[in-house]
C-alpha cells in the first residue's frame, strides 16, 4: 500500500483548465460523499447475526466492512442493472451495471455471478426492497444496488450501495453527480473505490492505455509512396472511449504516459526524422524537450516524472541518455560501440534496464542511472527487447523474447534470477507494459490473425482480453 501513489483527488488538483477531456477529470465531480455516518447508522439499526463480529458505529474500520465469501473461496458478487429514477436515464442505468460488473471482474478478487442468471431475482426499486433472500439463494455474498437520475440536460446523480447479503448491511455507499457524457467513468470510479475498500487494492478501472495505430488508413505524403500514417491514440483500459492524440499524418510511435497521466511522450517523424515530443493531453499543449539535437526516440519517464531516458544517435551511435523533463541537463548513460536502446526505469528511479547487442545479439541489461554497475540479465535468448520494469512490490522485468519464428512475453524475477514465459506462440507477442498495480500486462500481438492488436493479460498470462480491434495497433503504455 505505502509504495503505491495516492489516488488522485479530484478537488485538490491545483489547476484544471479543462475539466474535460478524457479521463478521470472529466467527471467534474461536484460531490463525492462517502456516507460513513449513514453506514454506521444503518449498521446500528440492523441486528448483527450470530457469529458476526459486533459492529462499532462510533469507530468503523475497513476490516469490519469487508465482505467475505465461504471459507477458502472469494466472495461472490452480484451487480444487477442500476435503477433509472428518471426515464431518460435507462441506458445509463444499464451501462453502469454492466461496466461495474466487468471492472470488478477484471482484478479477479471476487467471484462475479454472471448477469444473465439474475432474471429470477425480483428487481428492487429502492434500497429498502433489495431481496436478500433471493440473492442469498443465488449464492451472492455481496450485491450492488445503484440508482441513476438525470438532474439536468446533461448531468446525472448516481448513487451506489454495496450490501453484505448475509448481514443485510450497507458496507459501501457513495453518491456522484456530474456530466452524463461518459457514464462508464462513474462505474470505473466505483470499482476502484470498492477494490480499495474491500481488498486494499489499487484497481485500474480508471486507467488508460496509449498506443500507436494505423487505423485511420491514411498514407504519408512524401517522396516514397504507400507508407501508412501512424498516430498516437488513448483508450480506457478496457478499450472503450478511444481518443486520437496526434494529428500530423506522419509516423508517431512508442507513446509512454507521464506518471501523472496528463502527458504522453512519443517518437514522431513529423520533421522527417525521429524526435521526442510530449503531448499534454488535457492542456492541449506540446513540448519538444530534445529540440533539434540529433535524432531521438523511445522516450520513457522516470517514475517521479522529473526525467526522461531515451535513445539518441547524437554522438554517432544509438546510446541511452537521461535529461530533465524540460530537456535540460542531458547526461549520457551508456558508452559502447554497439546498440543501446529501449530503456525502462526501476521503480525507485536509480536503475535503467535496456536492450544492447554488445554481446552480438539484442539482450537485456541493467545499469545505474549514473551509468555505473552494468550487468546482463538475459543469457539464453536469441533476441530480447522492450524490457519493462514492474511497479513495486513486484521485483520483475517483462520483455519480449524470440521463441521460434516470433516473439513471446517473458518475465524475469530479479530476486531469484529465474524467468517465466507467459505467452506461448499464439502469433507474435511484443512490447509488454505493466499496469500501475503490477497485476496486469498490456502487449501487442498478432494472435487474432488481423494484424497487430493490443491485449491485456494477468501477470501470470491468464485472462487475456482484447483491447483494440481497428487497424493495426502497437506499443501500448498503461497509465497510472
Amino acid at each position: 500500500m505505502n509504495s503505491q501513489p495516492p489516488t488522485p483527488n479530484f478537488q485538490n488538483r491545483p489547476t484544471r483548465p479543462n475539466t474535460l477531456g478524457v479521463g478521470r477529470w472529466s467527471l467534474g465531480v461536484a460531490l463525492v460523499t462517502c456516507a460513513w455516518a449513514a453506514v454506521a447508522a444503518l449498521s446500528a439499526q440492523q441486528p448483527a447475526p450470530p457469529g458476526e463480529p459486533q459492529q462499532q458505529p462510533q469507530q468503523p474500520s475497513e476490516i469490519q466492512l469487508v465482505i467475505n465469501g465461504e471459507p477458502g473461496t472469494p466472495p461472490r458478487y452480484a451487480v444487477p442493472d442500476f435503477i433509472a429514477l428518471s426515464p431518460d436515464a435507462a441506458d445509463i442505468a444499464k451501462t453502469l451495471g454492466k461496466v461495474l460488473w466487468d471492472d470488478l471482474n477484471f482484478e479477479r478478487e471476487f467471484y462475479m455471478i454472471p448477469r444473465d442468471t439474475y432474471s429470477t431475482i425480483p428487481v428492487a426499486r429502492t434500497a429498502e426492497d433489495v431481496p436478500f433472500a433471493a440473492w442469498r439463494e443465488l449464492g451472492a455474498d455481496a450485491v450492488v444496488f445503484g440508482t441513476v437520475q438525470k438532474t439536468a440536460a446533461n448531468t446525472v446523480r448516481v448513487q451506489v450501495r454495496l450490501f453484505n447479503v448475509r448481514s443485510r448491511q450497507i458496507v459501501f455507499a457513495k453518491e456522484y453527480t456530474g456530466a452524463a457524457t461518459n457514464p462508464r467513468l462513474y462505474a470505473h470510479t466505483m470499482s476502484d473505490e470498492i477494490h480499495q475498500q474491500q481488498r486494499a487494492l489499487r484497481g485500474v478501472a480508471r486507467t488508460k492505455i496509449a498506443f500507436s495505430s494505423d487505423r485511420n488508413r491514411e498514407k504519408i505524403s512524401g517522396p516514397v509512396a504507400n507508407r501508412d500514417v501512424k498516430e498516437v491514440y488513448i483508450s480506457d483500459y478496457d478499450g472503450e472511449n478511444t481518443r486520437r492524440v496526434t494529428t500530423n499524418r506522419q509516423l508517431n510511435i512508442t507513446p509512454v504516459w507521464s506518471p501523472d497521466a496528463r502527458g504522453i511522450a512519443y517518437t514522431s517523424y513529423r520533421r522527417g526524422y525521429p524526435d521526442i515530443f510530449i503531448a499534454l493531453i488535457y492542456q492541449g499543449l506540446q513540448e519538444t524537450p530534445t529540440n533539434g539535437v540529433g535524432q531521438n526516440w523511445l522516450p520513457i519517464f522516470s517514475p517521479d516524472g522529473t526525467r526522461i531516458c531515451f535513445t539518441s544517435n547524437r554522438d554517432g551511435n544509438p546510446e541511452l541518455y537521461v535529461m530533465n523533463r524540460d530537456g535540460s541537463n542531458v547526461r549520457r548513460v551508456t558508452n559502447n560501440p554497439a546498440i543501446d536502446t529501449t530503456p525502462t526505469w526501476s521503480p525507485n528511479g536509480t536503475q535503467i534496464a535496456f536492450t544492447s547487442d554488445r554481446a552480438g545479439t539484442p539482450q537485456i541489461y541493467i545499469v545505474g542511472a549514473d551509468g555505473l554497475n552494468l550487468r546482463r540479465i538475459t543469457t539464453n535468448e536469441s533476441w530480447a527487447d522492450r524490457p519493462t520494469w514492474a511497479p513495486a512490490p513486484f521485483n520483475e522485468i517483462a520483455y519480449a523474447a524470440r521463441t521460434g519464428p516470433a516473439f513471446d512475453i517473458k518475465v524475469y524475477d530479479l530476486a531469484s534470477g529465474t524467468t517465466r514465459q507467459i505467452t506461448f506462440g499464439e502469433g507474435s507477442n511484443e512490447s509488454p507494459a505493466f499496469a500501475p498495480n503490477g497485476r496486469h500486462i498490456a502487449f501487442a500481438s498478432s494472435r487474432g490473425g488481423k494484424g497487430y492488436q493490443i491485449y491485456t493479460m494477468a501477470r501470470d498470462g491468464k485472462n487475456v482480453t482484447q483491447v483494440t480491434r481497428d487497424g493495426n495497433n502497437y506499443t501500448p503504455s498503461w497509465s497510472n
Binding site: I253, G292, G294
Partner: protein
C-alpha cells in the same frame, strides 16, 4: 464538439503558428540532422527546420541538361536511379553485393553533385519494433560511412531509420523479409 477535440485543435493551431515563424532555410524536403557532424561535448546549435509539409515543397529547377537531371524530385524518387542495398538477418554490415550497389549509387551521386540524399534504414518484421529502430539506424549509417569512404561529402548525406514501420514487401516470406532489410536511397533535394 467536445472539449477534448478543442484541445487537439489548440495543439494543431499552436503547432502551425510555431511552424510559420521558423525561417525556411533548409532544402525543400525535411532534412534530418547529420549524425556525423555532432560531437559529444559541444552539440551544434539546433539546425533550422525544414518545412514539415512535404507536399508543399517546390522542386528546385534542374541545372543539368540530361534526362535524369531534368526530372522532378517526385519522378526521380518514384523511378529512382538508385538501387537499394540489402542486408542479412539481424545484420548492419554491407556484404560484397551491398558494397557494389552502394558504389554504383556513389557514381550517380558524383554525376549530380548538388543532390542531397537521405539513406533510409529498414528492417524486416522478424525483429521487435523498438530494437529495429536502432538496427535501421545502424544500416543507414553503415551505408553513409561507405559513401563517405567513396568520396561523397558527408554534408550531402542524411540518414534516418524507419525500423520495421515501412515494409516494401508486406508478405511474410523469406523473399519479402529480404526485400525489407535494406538501405533505401531517397533524393531529398537536387
Amino acid at each position: 464538439m467536445n472539449r477534448f477535440t478543442v484541445g487537439l485543435m489548440l495543439v494543431l493551431t499552436l503547432g502551425a503558428a510555431c511552424a510559420k515563424k521558423k525561417p525556411v532555410t533548409g532544402g525543400p524536403q525535411p532534412a534530418p540532422p547529420s549524425t556525423a557532424t555532432a560531437t559529444p561535448t559541444t552539440p551544434p546549435p539546433p539546425p533550422a527546420r525544414a518545412p514539415e509539409r512535404v507536399e508543399e515543397s517546390v522542386p528546385v529547377p534542374a541545372i543539368s541538361e540530361d534526362a535524369i537531371g531534368n526530372r522532378s524530385l517526385e519522378d526521380l524518387n518514384r523511378d529512382s536511379p538508385f538501387k537499394p542495398a540489402f542486408f542479412g538477418l539481424d545484420s548492419a554490415e554491407l556484404d560484397d553485393a551491398g558494397r557494389a550497389i552502394v558504389a554504383s549509387n556513389a557514381e550517380i551521386m558524383k554525376k549530380y553533385p548538388s543532390w542531397v540524399i537521405t539513406v533510409e534504414g529498414h528492417c524486416d518484421e522478424r525483429g521487435t519494433a523498438e530494437y529495429n529502430l536502432a538496427l535501421g539506424e545502424r544500416r543507414a549509417v553503415a551505408v553513409k560511412s561507405y559513401l563517405v569512404a567513396l568520396g561523397i561529402p558527408a554534408d550531402r548525406l542524411r540518414t534516418v531509420s524507419y525500423g520495421k514501420e515501412f515494409p516494401f514487401d508486406t508478405g511474410h516470406t523469406e523473399t519479402s523479409w529480404a526485400q525489407n532489410r535494406r538501405a533505401h536511397f531517397v533524393i531529398t533535394s537536387k
